[in-house]
């Protein structure tokens, strides 16, 4: 079956997949989390929590930009 979805181009979908893999299987995973695996505080917050929160914030901002761009681009595709 085609992996084409009507709302965006194939290369953008491929980009989404790569973004997803890097984010959830690399940046959010232990080898990198392990760098923050010490119970010390950074700016009054545990380093681990600080790192996760930073990534969450990035996820929300980057994903919002990507989705809004795709929504605007869909009208062009149509």
């Amino acid at each position: 079956m085609s992996v084409t979805l009507w709302f965006t181009r194939k290369n953008i979908l491929a980009g989404f997949v790569i973004y997803c893999l890097i984010l959830f299987l690399v940046l959010y995973q232990y080898p990198l989390l392990g760098l923050f695996d010490e119970p010390k505080l950074f700016a009054g917050v545990p380093l681990f929590v600080f790192y996760i929160w930073l990534l969450n914030l990035l996820y929300i901002v980057i994903t919002a930009i990507m989705i809004v761009t795709v929504i605007k681009g869909e009208e062009g595709l149509r």
Binding site: M1, S2, L5, W6, V17, F24, N56, Y59, I67, L77
Partner: protein, 523 residues
């Protein structure tokens, strides 16, 4: 006046509010399956955001996350990261299903699988698996909420009475107004659960001296709580990866989440959920984690983590805050159980009863569905009541998610792999279920460094691939593949006409196929 009477009065006001919303939903809901179970596929951004958020966040956030943090520390963030992954997967699973649901009139989760694989056996297996897998989850919600009310009232309100009060309220507003009532109450409940948890946190932080002071105190008491794998070594790399993936993939497959993919007003509405819902879940996890850490400072030495939230309420919150938090807990729990019961009732009436009695019309199925809402909630509460000696909110939830995640490879293959067939899907589910039940219920939970839930997904995927490669797809499956592919790929396809268009095209090919081929070859 006794403090618990005041709490009960606050709770009564909340219950009256949701019942009123249920009644309003009943007044505007038509007696069609689409309107009753999917609110006419018309949920806008705000309502859809809160109904997805509130459906996924439950008593788990109040009792489970606080308790897990109390025992195992900040490793609970795996579940928040899973929420983000789950939301991101809407792009590949949720949005396509929205369009397919609209094009082919899917109401239940199994509708999609039955259409794609042309198999009512698969429909039955998926429907039954979801019913069996989610009844204990309803039970855990009823149990967590009922227990808290019993604790707050110092045992005056017995567990059975608390669970009954909880069940009757959900039964009334859910069975009356269906998805519309559930979604509207989810908006109120989502705001209440987030806002009232924040209020409780503010009071608790005031007692420990603020956020920086809280972390410093926890660091002094038990520093391992502020890092992974935590003081008991639970959150190892294998556990982090396994729990995270099973949580996210199981969340996608949970029937109550899945039907929300059909209910959005447009694909854009659903696309916005990929980042709007994580804003709410990230905030909620942060609040819950801090409450759990407040418990480490204020209530050390509890026998089990799931007791920390009720203990904090009883001993450290003023009466008005406790009343608010109880309402928040009820809201969190009810917003999940109403959605599960509605989704399961749709599945029982459409996937099981309609299969046995195809002569039933939509109005009859809606009426039967109302009865099944009652049956599902009562059955779930009975399970919860008889499991009253256990405190396993996070682990019970993870178990339910992991067993649901078995279906994930089937969903991906159904959407994106044309060779996948019903034999592969059925064999994959059976193998996945056997591995999942064996590893997660009987152990060992980890084998060769991989979480049992992940083994179940891997087993399902491999079986699906091998069997599908051995047996060709049937003509009916090939036709469904072509229909689905066309609907998903065309930017200009008119959704309402897709079935008719396919029929016309097939008829033309059958009648004039030879002439068309000749003309094409000449050209």
């Amino acid at each position: 006046m006794e403090p618990w009477v005041i709490i009960l009065l606050g709770l009564a006001a909340y219950i009256l509010l949701v019942l009123y919303i249920g009644y309003r939903g009943y007044k505007v809901t038509k007696r069609t399956l689409e309107d009753y179970y999917l609110a006419g596929r018309g949920l806008g951004v705000l309502i859809l955001m809160f109904t997805i958020f509130a459906t996924y966040q439950s008593a788990y956030m109040y009792i489970g996350v606080t308790g897990f943090t109390y025992e195992h520390g900040v490793g609970i963030w795996y579940s928040n990261v899973a929420n983000l992954l789950w939301a991101f997967l809407f792009i590949f699973i949720g949005i396509p299903l929205w369009r397919l649901g609209k094009a082919f009139g899917y109401i239940t989760q199994a509708d999609f699988f039955a259409h794609r694989f042309n198999s009512n056996i698969l429909r039955l297996i998926i429907a039954l698996w979801m019913v069996l897998g989610l009844l204990p989850y309803i039970g855990s919600q009823a149990l967590a909420t009922g227990r808290t009310l019993t604790t707050i009232s110092s045992g005056v309100i017995a567990l059975g009475v608390a669970v009954m009060l909880y069940a009757i309220t959900i039964i009334i507003y859910t069975s009356l107004g269906g998805m519309r009532s559930v979604a509207w109450t989810d908006l109120i409940q989502g705001l209440l659960m987030l806002g009232l948890l924040f209020v409780a946190l503010e009071v608790l932080l005031g007692k420990v001296g603020g956020i920086p002071a809280l972390f410093e105190k926890v660091y002094a008491i038990k520093p391992e709580l502020l890092s992974i794998p935590g003081p008991k070594g639970l959150m190892t790399p294998e556990a982090w990866l396994g729990y995270l993936l099973c949580d996210a993939l199981g969340g996608i497959m949970w029937i109550q989440n899945w039907v929300r993919f059909y209910a959005g007003k447009s694909w854009k509405t659903l696309a916005l959920m990929t980042f709007l819902v994580p804003i709410g879940t990230t905030l909620m996890f942060f609040f819950s984690m801090l409450v759990g850490l407040c418990g480490v400072v204020l209530e050390p030495g509890l026998p089990t983590g799931d007791l920390v939230f009720p203990a904090l309420m009883v001993k450290h919150l003023p009466l008005w805050t406790t009343a608010g938090v109880i309402i928040g807990l009820f809201a969190a729990s009810m917003s999940t159980v109403d959605s599960i019961s509605l989704a399961l009732s749709s599945s029982i009436s459409k996937d099981i009863i309609a299969l046995a009695k195809p002569e039933l019309d939509e109005s009859s199925l809606v009426n039967l569905g109302r009865l099944f809402v009652v049956a599902v909630i009562i059955a779930g509460c009975i399970v919860g009541y008889y499991a009253a000696g256990t405190y396993l909110v996070v682990l019970l939830t993870l178990l339910s998610l992991s067993l649901s995640a078995v279906l994930f490879p089937i969903a991906v293959a159904a959407l994106y792999w044309k060779r996948a067939n019903k034999y592969g899907a059925i064999a994959g589910i059976i193998v996945g279920i056997i591995i999942g039940v064996k590893t997660l219920l009987f152990g060992p939970e980890f084998a060769f460094g991989i979480y049992g839930g992940l083994w179940a997904i891997i087993g399902c995927a491999l079986t699906l691939i091998i069997v599908s490669l051995m047996i060709p797809v049937s003509d009916k499956e090939a036709r469904a593949v072509e229909q689905i592919s066309r609907v998903l790929s065309s930017p200009i396809v008119a959704m309402v006409d897709i079935n008719d268009a396919y029929k016309v095209e097939t008829a033309i090919k059958q009648k004039y196929g030879a002439i068309i081929s000749r003309l094409t070859s000449n050209a």
